[in-house]
Amino acid sequence: MRKVWLLVAFLTACGGLEPEPICAPSLVGLCGTVRFRGTVPANTENVFIAAYLTFPQTCTDLIANRQPLIPGSVPYTDSLALYSVPLSPGTYQWVLAVWKKPGTLTLTPADTQYLRVGGYYRNPADSTQPGSVTVPNGASAGDVNFVVDFDRLRPATDFVTCTGP
């Protein structure tokens, strides 16, 4: 019987709902939510958030100017995920979610063959355009929320010019 109640104590010890700060107090960067739609492709490896100080013009810009350069991943199995991305202070013109299929990244334009644009933060005044976000000094920008549609993943060439592999 004692073992049973020890088991009860163990099971009850964790797992309930906990407070979730919108942005961790120590974060300098961006945070918000990503809402997922559509069917997750079977070859999905991960989804990550990236940001650009200026809108990239070429595939080279796309890879070289990405912040953070080595991104973390966002859980995509639920319909909603929280994310936070440490970034340097500044105004970012494009914040997006990038979908990746299996393949080794080389930090060259060739990486674009493994990557698709899943969705991006939109201008609240004109939702057809990307929105810009300012990360203040020593603080974070919250509520940078956007949608990823797995049924409408778009190649990099829809946004930038890629001249080589």
Binding site: M1, T12, G16, L17, P19, P21, C23, R37, D78, S79
Partner: protein
């Protein structure tokens, strides 16, 4: 309609029954334990006949019209061993037989034959049945019956909706795939088909039987996933009074950032009941009031109820019962918890104890009640008939910031049934039932639905096995339109696996068809939800299913424990679900459709152990549920929403003289899928709730201390709705 039913009941009751001239006697007596304490609710039955009754508060029983000569009498009670004895009765005389039942926690409980349709020979039925006694209700010190049956193996409540082996899931209160009956009278609402668990005062309830698996072969629509039958207390002879007062406090949120008020929330209730009866007639009346501040913002609840019951033994063979209840509620509606930016969120993604400011002031006013009458005549020891009529009324008004909605629903029912024991190895039940429901509402419109049914079931002992088979034919008509017919057959077998009589092991198996007629709310709802129009679908068809189970109840193992396990399998078709439809050019609407085919399969197991006889009883229940949902015209499949794969209940009670302590633990795994994913907050966690209780009885007063969710585990069962937090209550019950 009401007059016709009442007239029929009176005429039937006053008709002289054939067979009066047969030599018959009255059997009466007392059932008590070895210390002389009365055992209430014990079943006493004359074997091989339809004659059966239960003991009253003082352990007394009385069975009229017992055939003169030698008869076998069986007495049993939950938690006690059974006694079979042979009695010689003299015609025209009264014979007293007292029974002493010894405590035997592992004894199999008797299955009630009085208020439900599970015919039997004093042994186990072919289907799985879980039972809760008055003692279970008492020691849990609960306020509504759902709080008590939530701990039965294989049962889970999801925001007030009952799931037997995963049948219902969570359907926003628009239907129930489980039928509730009170003393055999169907009590699902006429408009929405849901169950009002707080319609009956808990002190008026004597016990609850939970029949698992499809029960439509006898009970018709809504018994798709099972039946919960509530038995109310009989009226004992003499004058009795009972008062019950409860006070309590809700726990504070465990994190300061979730605090929403400066002082703790309180709750309290008071109930008073009085009854008087003699051998010929009796009556009881009870009244109660309850207030709760709620455990979250905008969660106040006020409840007032009245209930009454009367019995009249109009002749030696005929008994008439009339019962009714009326409840008035006004409760705040915390529609959904506050998400980021929709209240003073204090920098949190969500605030589970707060509501959106746009939903402030939402509340519901509800009035509901029922009236039921039943006549039972024992024509002869081998033949009895029952006739009943009932009326259930619900009236709600939802008051919202933006709009208000109302609905008035009625459900009128009448039923006639013959019960026969042609010989000692056979029973047969045949009956007919008619139900008329109507609704007047600004979201459901004005509509009516009629249901007509005929059913029959026979039980036959073949060697050591008992075989039962039956079927029910239902005809449904909406707004006086054409009839839809549904046939629900069922067959079952139970076989003893050792020679220890009713307390030995038993193997059981059954297969049956279930169905559920769409409720008028499902057919005709016209409202808005999640920003979309919800449009009616009058062409909805009944949901149907085939359910199979095979189970075994073991004989006592190692002298202190008993196991019960069943494997179940249900194939369901045409389940009704909300669908988001995109219509050209750019219209999106929600419509309920028969689109889902589903499989629900799993294992339902329980263990009861009494390692220290008379003192310590421990129980363990486990349900494994695997579901598969497939949309019509779609080859992909996934799990059904709101069905946890694992459900575990643990319980223990220790008694030492007048003092008792106990604990319950409940675990449910995180549901793999929820409805409307993508439109609601998908946050969900496993359920891990520990309850503790203690009781002390001295003279006519009993004190009960109950702490539910004692670890203040913060969780939700449906999206954006916080489940109850730690609640501590102290209850005093005075009985005389």
């Amino acid at each position: 309609m009401h007059r016709a039913i009442a007239a029929l009941l009176v005429v039937l009751a006053l008709c002289p029954a054939p067979g009066d001239a047969m030599a018959q006697g009255v059997l009466r007596g007392w059932v008590h334990d070895p210390q002389g304490a009365p055992i209430r609710g014990a079943a006493v039955a004359v074997r091989g006949t339809t004659l059966a009754t239960e003991t009253d508060l003082e352990g007394r029983y009385r069975i009229p019209v017992v055939p003169a000569g030698t008869v076998r009498v069986h007495a049993a009670a939950i938690g006690y061993g059974f006694v079979d004895t042979t009695v010689a009765l003299t015609g025209g005389d009264s014979t007293t037989v007292d029974f002493i039942l010894s405590l035997a926690p592992l004894a199999l409980p008797p299955v009630d034959v009085i208020s439900d349709k599970v015919s039997h020979f004093g042994d186990r039925p072919a289907t799985s049945v879980a039972q809760l006694t008055e003692r279970d209700l008492d020691r849990r010190a609960v306020n509504t019956v759902d709080e008590a049956i939530d701990h039965a193996p294989g049962v889970q409540f999801v925001n007030g909706q009952i799931n037997l082996r995963g049948s219902t899931g969570y359907v926003q209160g628009l239907n129930s795939r489980v039928l509730m009956t009170v003393d055999g009278v169907p009590m699902n609402q006429g408009d929405r088909g849901g169950i009002s668990w707080d319609l009956l005062p808990v002190d008026d309830i004597e016990g609850v039987q939970i029949l698992k698996g499809a029960g439509s072969s006898l009970y018709g629509s809504a018994a798709f996933g099972g039946v919960v039958n509530v038995t109310t207390r009989d009226i004992p002879n003499g004058l009795h009074t009972r008062a019950r007062f409860t006070g309590g406090v809700y726990g504070d949120p465990p994190h300061a950032v979730w605090r929403f008020r400066d002082s703790p929330g309180l709750l309290g209730s008071g109930d008073v009941a009085a009854s008087y009866g003699n051998d010929e007639w009796g009556g009881r009346f009870s009244v109660g009031d309850r207030h709760s501040d709620g455990y979250r913002q905008q969660d106040q609840d006020d409840h007032l109820h009245f209930a009454g019951k009367a019995r009249w033994q109009s002749s030696v063979k005929t008994r008439i019962d009339v019962s009714g209840a009326w409840a008035v509620d006004r409760y705040d509606v915390p529609l959904s918890w506050c998400s980021r930016g929709k209240c003073d969120d204090l920098g949190q993604v969500f605030q589970p104890f707060k509501v959106d400011t746009t939903e402030r002031g939402a509340r519901t006013d509800s009035r509901k009640g029922y009236l039921a009458a039943q006549v039972r005549t024992t024509v002869s020891p081998t033949l009895a008939w029952v006739a009943r009529g009932s009326w259930l009324r619900t009236h709600f008004t939802d008051l919202r910031h933006s709009t208000s909605e109302f609905g008035v629903g009625n459900r009128f029912g009448t039923e006639g049934r013959l019960e026969a024991h042609p010989d000692s190895t056979r029973t047969a039940i045949v009956g007919a039932e008619a139900t008329f429901s109507d609704v007047t509402s600004d979201i459901f419109g004005t509509h009516s639905q009629s249901e007509f049914a005929a059913y029959g079931q026979s039980d036959q002992r073949i060697g050591v096995a008992r075989v039962s088979g039956g079927a029910r034919l239902d005809f449904l008509a909406v707004d006086g339109g054409s009839l839809t017919a549904v046939v629900s057959p069922r067959i079952g077998i139970s076989v003893p696996t050792d020679r220890r009589g009713p307390n030995g092991g038993t193997l059981r198996a059954s297969i049956g068809r279930g169905f559920r007629s769409p409720t008028m709310a499902e057919r005709f709802v016209h409202t808005t939800a999640l920003g979309f129009d919800v449009v009616p679908n009058p062409t909805l068809q009944p949901e149907t299913s085939w359910s199979f189970e095979i189970g075994h109840t073991s004989a006592p193992l190692l002298r202190f424990m008993r196991l019960d396990a069943a494997v179940f399998w249900t194939e369901a078709r045409d389940l009704i679900e909300p669908r988001l439809l995109q219509l050209p050019p750019d219209t999106v609407e929600i419509r309920l459709q028969n689109v889902v085919h589903a499989r629900l399969a799993g294992l339902d197991a329980s263990v009861i152990a009494a390692p220290i006889p008379d003192r310590l009883i421990a129980t363990l229940g486990y349900t494994y549920l695997s579901t598969r949902r497939r949309l019509e015209g779609d080859s992909t499949s996934g799990p059904l929403a709101f069905r946890p794969r694992h459900l575990v209940t643990l319980g223990a009670d220790y008694a030492l003289g007048p003092i008792g302590v106990g604990a319950d633990f409940r675990f449910a795994s995180r549901p793999e899928r929820i409805e409307l994913e993508g439109f609601v907050d998908p946050r969900r966690v496993p359920v891990k709730v520990l309850d503790l209780r203690a009781g002390w009885k001295r003279g006519p007063i009993e004190w009960r201390l109950l702490a539910t969710n004692v670890l203040n585990y913060i969780h939700n069962l449906v999206p954006e709705t916080l489940a109850p937090v730690r609640t501590i209550t102290l209850t005093a019950v005075w009985s005389h």
